[in-house]
Symmetry: C2
Subunit: 351 residues, 2 copies
C-alpha cells in the first residue's frame, strides 16, 4: 500500500529517515528491547517507508509494541538454531522480532551456501518480518540468489470459492547482476487489505477484481469485502494457484500453520503461527559470477523496449522511491508520528 | 492450450494412451533413439495429452524428429553430470531428449536431497522438457517438495514495453500431502502463443489482456499480436515481474541464455539454449512427514469453500482430465496422427 491519499500536508509531517529510525528505536528500547535489536527492527520499518510501502512502515509500530507488552514478542529472545541436515537450518525464533531472527537465519544460511552451494532456512515462532525486498536485495548484493517466502493471515479467497482461506503470501526473489540486483517482492493478492479498508471507510467503489463478498460474488462494495468477504488473488486462477502453492510449501517446510490458523502478525493477542522460508544459492561457490554481465545486458535490452519510458526491472521503482525519500524525507501521518513519539517517551498507556 | 475447437470427430480420432505411446516410441526409435530413451520421451508427450495440454503432446513430435534429423537432438546422448558443490549438480545434457536428461537430474538430486536436505540441479544443453507437472508430481509422491523452472523462447512483453523479451517461463511446484500432492504448473504468460495463432488464423478477436501489437498497444487482433507484437504476462505487472525474475534466476544458475537468445525448443534449426532448474527438499530427511495430514486437512477446508462446486487445489483439474483420458482415450487431430504413424513406419521424408 502506498501513502494514502488523505495524507496531505495538513495532517502529516515530513520526517528524515534518520529521525524516523531513531524515534522507532527509542520506542522499542523504551519497551525493553536491546539497542541492537531495536535498531534492526527500526531499520526494517524505515525500509518499508523508504520503498514507498507505508503499510510495512511505522504504522506497524503500534502492533509491535502491543505485542511486546502482551508478551507475544520477546524483543531480546535468543533464537534457537539447529542444522537438521547439512544444508537445512531450522530456526525457532522464540517469539523474537521478525527482522532480528531473519538476519540470524540469513547470515547462517549464506555462510552455509558458500560451502554447500545451496542452503535453506526454515523459521517459525517469529514476528512479522516486514517487506521481503530489503532482505533479498542485501543477499543478492552479497552474490547469492535468494528466494524468501512468508505466510500470512488468510485474507484471499480460493478461485471459485467464498471466504478467505489463503494468505497474501508474498514472494521475494533477489538475483545478483553486474549493476543493481533484480529484486522481486510481490504479494499474491490483487491488493492489500489496508487499501480495501481505506476504500470501505470512504465509500469509494472497489476496482474490478479486487474482492468478493461473503457469497463469493465479485463486489465493488468495500464494506462487503471487509465484512465476511475476501480479497481476490492477483491474476485470477493463476494467482490463486501460486498463492496456495506457496502457502503449502512454506507451511510444510517450516512446520507452521495453514490458512485461517495463521495468526499473530496483524493482531495483538495471539502468538505468531506463520512461517518464513529462505533458500539461497551462492554464485561464487558455483563459479557463476561470469553470468552477471550477461544478465545486466539482458536487463538493459528489456529496459529499452519501453513504450513511453524505460521499462522497469523488478526493484527499479522501489530504488527510485528509496532515493527520493532519502533525499527529501518521508511523509508520515501526524497521528502515527505523535503516537511513535509518545511511545519513545514512554508516555503512552496501554491501548 | 486445450484441445482446439476445430478438432471435431470429422478430422480427429480417439486413440488409447497405450497406442499413442507406442506409436510415438516407434517414431523415435525409427529415427535412432534407443527404446528406453524413446519410451521416456514418448511417455512425456502422452502425459501432456492426458492432462489436457495438447500443446505439450504429440504435436511436438514433428519438431523433435526434425531436430533429431538435423543433429540438434542426440537421442542417445550421455548427459554429463558434475556435482559442483555438495548440494548442487550441473548437468550438460549433451543435446539429449529433455525428459531423459531431466529424469537423470531428478534421480540424482532426489538422492542427494535425502542426505543434504535440499539439492539443486541445473540443466543446460537439453531439449524441451515438456509439461512440468508430471515431474514435480512424481517427486512429490516420493516425499519431496519440488520446484522446477525452465526458460523458453521470448514471447512475452515487459510491462510497459513493446516486443517480446521474456519467456513464457512456467513455474512447476509439487508439495506432498497425505492424499494427492499439490501440483502447480503454470506459465507466466496470459495465454499460449499456439492459442493466439489459432485466433489469428480464424480472425476471432483476442480477449482483453492477451496481447499487444508491435507498438506495445493492447490489441484484439491476433495477426497484430503474431506479427511483431507479443503475448501479455498474466496478471499485469506482477506477472511480468515474476516471469522476468524466473528468467533471470534460471538463466544465471544454469549458465544459459536470456530473452531473445533463448532458442531451440520451437524451431528445428538451432541448438537449445534454454535452462532447466530443479530444487528439491526431502521431507523425510527433515522429519516433516508429520505435516502432511495437516496440509491435507487444509486442502479439504479450501475445497469446501467452493461457491458452485468444490474449489480445485492445483493439480486436481489435471488429475480429473488424466483419469478421463485414461478411461476414454485421447482425441487426436487426424493430420497429426497420420504424420506420427508415417514417422513410425519411416515413410515420411524430411520436411
Amino acid at each position: 500500500m502506498k501513502t494514502t491519499e488523505n495524507q496531505t500536508a495538513a495532517n502529516s509531517s515530513v520526517i528524515s529517515p534518520d529521525e524516523l529510525h531513531d524515534v522507532i528505536q527509542s520506542a522499542l528500547t523504551a519497551h525493553g528491547a536491546s539497542p541492537e535489536n531495536a535498531h534492526i527492527q527500526a531499520a526494517n520499518l524505515v525500509e518499508g517507508e523508504l520503498r514507498g510501502h507505508a503499510s510495512h512502515g511505522i504504522r506497524r509500530l503500534r502492533v509491535l509494541i502491543e505485542r511486546m507488552r502482551n508478551g507475544l514478542i520477546d524483543p531480546n529472545a535468543a533464537p534457537e538454531l539447529t542444522w537438521i541436515a547439512p544444508a537445512v537450518l531450522r530456526i525457532d525464533g522464540k517469539r523474537g522480532f521478525g527482522p532480528v531472527v531473519a538476519q540470524r537465519a540469513i547470515d547462517e544460511a549464506v555462510a552455509r551456501a558458500e560451502e554447500t552451494g545451496i542452503a535453506l532456512a526454515a523459521i517459525s515462532n517469529s514476528s512479522h518480518i516486514g517487506m521481503l525486498a530489503p532482505y533479498v536485495e542485501a543477499i543478492a548484493q552479497r552474490g547469492l540468489v535468494a528466494l524468501l517466502l512468508t505466510t500470512s493471515e488468510a485474507l484471499v479467497h480460493a478461485w471459485g470459492g467464498r471466504k478467505a482461506t489463503v494468505g497474501t503470501n508474498p514472494i521475494g526473489l533477489g538475483v545478483p547482476s553486474q549493476g543493481e540486483p533484480l529484486v522481486l517482492d510481490m504479494s499474491t493478492a490483487s491488493v492489500s487489505m489496508g487499501k480495501v479498508i481505506d476504500y470501505a471507510a470512504t465509500g469509494r467503489p472497489l476496482p474490478e477484481g479486487w474482492a468478493v463478498d461473503s457469497f463469493g460474488r465479485p463486489t465493488s462494495d468495500g464494506r462487503a469485502a471487509v465484512d465476511g468477504g475476501a480479497i481476490s488473488p492477483f491474476g485470477g486462477p493463476k494467482g490463486y494457484a501460486l498463492g496456495i502453492a506457496l502457502e503449502a510449501m512454506v507451511g510444510v517446510l517450516t512446520a507452521t500453520a495453514f490458512g485461517t490458523e495463521v495468526v499473530g502478525t496483524l493482531d495483538t493477542e495471539l502468538p505468531a503461527t506463520k512461517g518464513d522460508l529462505l533458500i539461497c544459492v551462492s554464485l561464487e561457490r558455483l563459479g557463476l559470477l561470469g553470468m552477471l554481465p550477461l544478465l545486466e545486458q539482458y536487463f538493459d535490452e528489456v529496459r529499452q523496449t519501453g513504450v513511453a519510458a524505460p521499462v522497469d526491472i523488478p526493484g527499479d521503482r522501489a530504488r527510485r522511491a528509496r532515493d527520493a525519500h532519502l533525499a527529501n524525507g518521508i511523509r508520515i501521518d501526524r497521528e502515527v508520528w505523535l503516537r511513535a513519539l509518545a511511545y519513545a517517551e514512554g508516555t503512552l498507556a496501554h491501548d
